[in-house]
């Protein structure tokens, strides 16, 4: 018998790696930096010493964040269209249960690891209690995941209600601090979860259409709205991850200002530029992905879009909106946290947003000109990040701004050739040349 897990797991993970490799790498980079800033032993001691209510709340926040950030992956593993299609084949329910339970357990290996680390001191004095808590955490994570999949077909409000109720239950169980009770509840939920994995799941509900820039008119705005619509509706998971990544990088940049802004202002400014350019790079990648997604449907758009100014401005606006979290995060940080480098941070963020938008346009126009838009332009992206990141660190925001202007000027010059190449490639549905 061909292994179901052998087909599904590598297939899904390959898709995830291809789609979100840069973001995952950026998030891991942030995570390792945060671990260095707040050492795990300190956090563990803090959790152990705090009162049960505070500990429960802190754990619940971390738990919910983890579950929410990785929800898209869980959905992809269990509810992906490919995976659901396989449900028409005569595959025994127990095979589905084993495959999905293993996949989800693998996804939440982090939970098991962190819970094990947190419970290690308790294990020395109360072995059975610590073990019960650890198993309860693993079972609870599995049940939470299956709950996420069951509720995926409900409305956003329904999903939030489910998450709130589950979080309240989590907090209550942690506050009561009875390992046997926790294990009993978690085992019951896990049993339900494993049984449920044997039956097909409904498809995730379609996000309600949101009108972006609804009141604003004009062809460039229309293009920007279309691009943003594609980003949100067809690549929503990546957009959300990119926004989270941008905000995390802004948080790191603020942290640098707070910690060394007085002692070493030039070092802090260099860190600010580094982090904001990295955040802008995430937004650029988001915008490039949108252009690549739209490419196959260009035959339908080309009769409507013709002017260079209109199209480039539209794309620029859309890419700029995708990079706005960098600026918004910097402003929010300036309001919330006091440090001496607000003006420089703001300038760096504004320049980074402009550069991000123009880099997205530059990368995609060049890829179209070379008929290479179907390949992820990782080299072009990394090259720009390196050059502009270094320029920003050495010469400041003005250099980033200059890079943005140069990028736009080159894109403007290349556009006619790129447009011609694109129109040749995508003439009509089904006629697109395949590689």
């Amino acid at each position: 018998m061909t292994s179901l897990g052998g087909l599904l797991t590598p297939y899904v993970l390959t898709g995830v790696r291809r789609r979100a490799a840069l973001t995952i790498a950026a998030l891991l980079g942030c995570a390792q930096y945060l671990v260095r800033v707040w050492s795990p032993p300190q956090l563990r001691a803090l959790a152990a010493e705090s009162i049960p209510e505070h500990r429960a709340l802190g754990l619940a926040i971390a738990w919910v964040l983890w579950m929410r950030i990785t929800r898209a992956l869980a959905w992809r593993l269990v509810l992906g269209a490919d995976v659901r299609f396989l449900r028409h084949l005569p595959i025994a329910p127990w095979r589905w249960r084993v495959t999905h339970a293993l996949q989800l357990a693998l996804l939440d290996l982090t939970v098991a690891g962190i819970a094990g680390y947190g419970l290690a001191p308790r294990f020395l004095r109360d072995r059975s209690g610590a073990l019960a808590w650890w198993i309860a955490a693993i079972f609870g994570a599995l049940a939470w995941r299956v709950g996420q999949c069951v509720w995926a077909s409900r409305s956003a409000r329904g999903r939030i209600a489910h998450a709130v109720a589950a979080t309240a239950g989590f907090v209550l169980v942690v506050v009561i601090d009875d390992p046997n009770l926790a294990l009993t509840i978690a085992a019951g939920l896990a049993a339900w979860a494993v049984a449920r994995l044997g039956r097909p799941f409904a498809e995730p509900s379609v996000a309600r259409h949101r009108t972006m820039l609804g009141g604003v008119r004009g062809p460039a705005i229309a293009i920007a709205r279309l691009w943003l619509g594609v980003a949100w509706h067809q690549d929503g998971a990546f957009v959300r991850i990119a926004i989270a990544g941008q905000l995390a990088l802004v948080a790191l940049s603020t942290l640098a200002c707070v910690r060394v802004g007085v002692l070493d202002p030039s070092g802090a400014i260099a860190a600010v530029h580094l982090f904001t350019i990295a955040a802008a790079g995430l937004a650029t990648w988001s915008a490039v992905r949108v252009e690549r997604r739209i490419a196959v449907d260009r035959w339908a758009l080309d009769p409507l879009i013709g002017a260079r100014t209109t199209e480039l401005l539209g794309r620029l606006l859309a890419a700029g909106v995708l990079a706005l979290p960098v600026l918004a995060g910097t402003i929010a940080a300036a309001i919330a946290i006091d440090h001496p480098l607000h003006a420089r941070s703001f300038a760096a963020a504004a320049a980074a947003v402009l550069w991000s938008a123009s880099a997205a346009v530059g990368i995609t126009v060049r890829a179209q000109q070379r008929d290479r838009l179907h390949e992820p332009p990782i080299g072009a992206q990394l090259g720009r990040l390196l050059v502009v990141g270094t320029a920003g660190v050495v010469f400041g925001a003005a250099a980033v701004l200059l890079a943005a202007i140069v990028e736009l000027a080159i894109a403007w010059r290349r556009w006619p050739a790129a447009d011609l190449m694109r129109r040749r490639r995508y003439r009509a549905p089904g006629e697109a040349e395949r590689d």
């Binding site: 018998m1 659901r84 595959i91």
Partner: protein, 215 residues
């Protein structure tokens, strides 16, 4: 063949995107070709997906050759093959890998041979390329081979003619003819059935969230 109906629907309600697309649908599918018609968004594909077990139904019973889809899911699914409207599942795999997987799950050999499938695709090398690089018609031919893999007694076809060239349509019609001649059942959802209605033994119509048996 067995006397059991190929498909029996009893008060089936299917919900999708928070609304009931089909309510209390009941019917028994005869052997031979049955055409399923209905307007855009009426629920033809949803009905086929529910019968195939891809979309869970909220009420009712679906039995395929007497095997209940919920209580005996493996037996029920072993009795059906599905050609979906869009053949875009697992397009990252090669046709060879996909068909080998489907045949492995069904416990049979790939039939016709992979070489014959390569000829059907008009390009023998296409069988080893990722399906994402194949044309829509080629992917559909691969999906047709996957649907008929193991010769299931019930064949569900969703807009089967979409994207197929003449050779593909000839292959499709040969499959339907073979299924009907051997007393098996084919349920075929179509927007514009045309000549298919004349050779069909049954005609179902989906509309107003219900199923009407026209003939």
């Amino acid at each position: 063949m067995t006397e059991l109906p190929a498909l029996r629907l009893t008060n089936v309600t299917v919900r999708r995107g928070g609304r009931d697309v089909l309510v209390d649908v009941g019917a028994t599918l005869p052997s031979g070709l049955t055409v399923l018609t209905g307007g855009n968004g009426s629920g033809k594909s949803t009905l086929l997906a529910a019968i195939a077990g891809i979309i869970p139904y909220v009420r009712g019973e679906i039995a395929i050759l007497g095997a209940d889809l919920v209580r005996d899911p493996v037996a029920a699914r072993r009795n059906l093959g599905l050609l979906p409207e869009r053949a875009d599942a697992f397009v990252g795999l090669s046709a060879r890998a996909w068909l080998t997987f489907v045949a492995g799950i069904r416990g049979v050999a790939v039939e016709p041979s992979l070489e014959a499938i390569g000829a059907l695709l008009d390009d023998p090398s296409a069988i080893d390329r990722p399906m994402s690089t194949l044309s829509a018609g080629q992917r559909r031919k691969v999906a047709l081979v996957a649907a008929t893999c193991g010769e299931p007694p019930l064949l569900l076809l969703d807009e089967p003619q979409n994207a197929l060239d003449e050779a593909g349509i000839a292959a499709l019609e040969a499959v339907v003819e073979r299924w009907c001649a051997s007393g098996r059942a084919v349920l075929c959802a179509m927007h514009r059935p045309g000549a298919w209605l004349q050779r069909a033994r049954g005609h179902w119509h989906v509309g107003d969230r219900g199923l009407r048996i026209v003939a």
